[in-house]
């Protein structure tokens, strides 16, 4: 899927997204995100951050333009290939999308079971990721019995547990205090160092202020990129 002649894992070419009747969520956006990069996506509420993440994981289709994810043209991708691709992308949704009647363990396990991992690996992966997020004490609680911030961490844990090649996090610290936010960022950094490309949509200035990563600023659907594209990260890719 990821060949060496595709250094970009996400490539948007002249993407526009119009919600009927006339909401311009994204306007003529082009960019590349390279393998192993960490990128922040910022912008005011309603700027189009979630829309962009939805386009990346093919939940929604662009009105115009071309999207390439890890070498796949999303407009032409087959269902089986899309399923395989999704197994390699971890997404922490802004509205979490957890199953309320399942426990934390079961929710995270779902992401690993679809890859047919064996039970032992599943257990160790879940414990590992919950440990970083300080959530091991809630592992067998139903997610609807958790506080909102705990749910958010479960959503992040699910995205991270499968060790994806691409991790998308939509407002991952919105319901978290600063300590928990730091834990989450530590997890993302750790994954990023292991080669995962990380895209974080956020309003929280404190988590990107001091980073050296590129910042994609959306406003009214228009993109403005600040920061340097890192050239030295490419060797960190994982197969």
């Amino acid at each position: 899927m990821i060949s060496d002649d595709h250094p970009a894992i996400i490539e948007f070419v002249k993407i526009s997204k119009v919600y009927p009747p006339d909401i311009l969520a994204l306007v003529d956006i082009s960019f590349k995100i390279n393998k192993g990069e960490m990128v922040f996506l910022t912008g005011p509420s309603g700027a189009g951050k979630t829309t962009m993440i939805k386009l990346i994981c093919n939940i929604d289709k662009p009105t115009k333009g071309f999207i390439d994810i890890a070498g796949n043209d999303l407009s032409k991708i087959k269902p089986a290939a899309m399923q395989a691709l999704r197994q390699k992308i971890g997404v922490a949704y802004q509205d979490f999308r957890l199953l309320p009647r399942l426990t934390v363990f079961q929710n995270i396990a779902m992401a690993l079971e679809v890859k047919f991992m064996d039970g032992k690996t599943i257990r160790s992966r879940i414990h590992e990721v919950l440990n970083v997020l300080n959530m091991t004490n809630k592992i067998y609680k139903r997610t609807d019995k958790l506080s909102r911030g705990e749910q958010q961490r479960v959503a992040i844990a699910r995205a991270a547990a499968a060790r994806p090649i691409l991790l998308l996090a939509d407002e991952p610290t919105g319901n978290l205090d600063s300590q928990a936010g730091t834990d989450v960022m530590a997890l993302f950094s750790q994954l990023n160092e292991e080669g995962t490309t990380v895209v974080i949509a956020t309003h929280d200035k404190s988590i990107y202020r001091d980073s050296h990563c590129r910042i994609f600023h959306l406003d009214g659907g228009e993109l403005d990129i600040t920061g340097q594209e890192p050239e030295d990260r490419e060797q960190g890719t994982e197969t």
Binding site: R86, Q87, L102, A111, F116
Partner: protein, 295 residues
């Protein structure tokens, strides 16, 4: 195989988590199978009963002269030409006289001083069991009057009509109810399955987003539908059997229904209903999941 293990784990979990809805579906399937097979059972028995009672449906043609044995084949051919005839009996005045005596019972001494010679020759025609066609019997009787030598054609007019009426009424009730019920059953099963799936829409959506393969999503649903079919139709059939026993015990008093043996569905037909409902459930669940697993 790990794949199978996951599918079965999934199925087990689904059953545990949605047991309310599952029970509802099961009940629906059970009731539907019960309804359908109940009406089929009644229908079957009405037909059988009609066939048995139909033995007595006969027409008598009175002739103005004797049919010499040589002429009989020709006459028989003429009669059989028109309608589905079971049996043809030629009756002489003597035979007819004996019968008249039997009919008069204790009063047969009326006939003591007579011989049968004043009675006409006649032909008794027994029809194949077909009660639908009472109009046809009328036509047939008119046709018979045109036979050479035919004086008069007689058949159990009132009795046949009344009996035919009841058979027909039963048939209407059974068919109409059966149709209505099969309709409802189909509607109920698909509706219940759809509702169960709507309740699980979130889960299916999340599986989709996590990149689950089609087999991973469809497998458990398929097994579920299959099991629903198996248990539902087993329970439906069992319930039917108890209904059957109840009817038999309740209405089979001595001398009343012995005329008519109320019998259960033959094995092949019961098996057919069984297999069909399993298929329907499986295919139904598969079909109703289709709109939830796209891309």
């Amino acid at each position: 195989m790990r794949y199978l293990f996951f599918i079965l784990t999934q199925t087990g979990r689904n059953f545990r988590q949605t047991w309310g809805a599952q029970l509802m579906t099961l009940l629906t399937v059970t009731l539907s199978v019960l309804f359908f097979s109940f009406f089929y059972l009644i229908y079957n028995n009405v037909l059988q009963g009609a066939a048995r009672l139909g033995d007595e449906l006969r027409l008598i043609v009175f002739l103005d002269q004797e049919v010499v044995p040589e002429l009989r084949p020709a006459l028989e051919k003429k009669i059989r030409e028109f309608s589905e005839v079971e049996k043809i009996i030629f009756i002489s005045p003597t035979e007819a006289f004996t019968r008249l005596g039997e009919q008069l019972g204790n009063d047969r001494d009326v006939l003591d001083d007579l011989d049968g010679s004043f009675l006409p020759y006649s032909i008794e025609i027994y029809l194949k069991k077909d009660f639908k066609n009472l109009a046809g019997i009328k036509d047939f009787s008119e046709y018979l009057t045109t036979l050479p030598g035919a004086m008069k054609v007689q058949y159990g007019h009132g009795w046949v009509e009344r009996f035919g009426y009841f058979v027909n009424l039963s048939r209407i009730i059974v068919l109409l109810s059966g149709a209505l019920l099969t309709l409802t059953a189909t509607f109920m099963v698909s509706y219940t399955i759809r509702l169960t799936l709507v309740a699980r829409q979130d889960e299916l959506e999340i599986f989709r987003l996590l990149g689950a393969t089609n087999a991973f999503i469809k497998g458990p649903v398929l097994i579920e539908g299959f099991l629903q079919g198996v248990f539902g139709s087993t329970m439906g059939m069992t319930a039917l059997y108890f209904c059957f026993l109840w009817i038999q015990n309740h209405f089979n008093g001595p001398g009343f229904l012995n005329l008519f043996e109320f019998s259960f569905l033959p094995f092949t037909e019961a098996a057919l209903i069984f297999v069909c409902s399993i298929c329907l459930c499986t295919v139904g669940s598969l079909f109703s999941i289709r709109k939830f697993v796209r891309i």
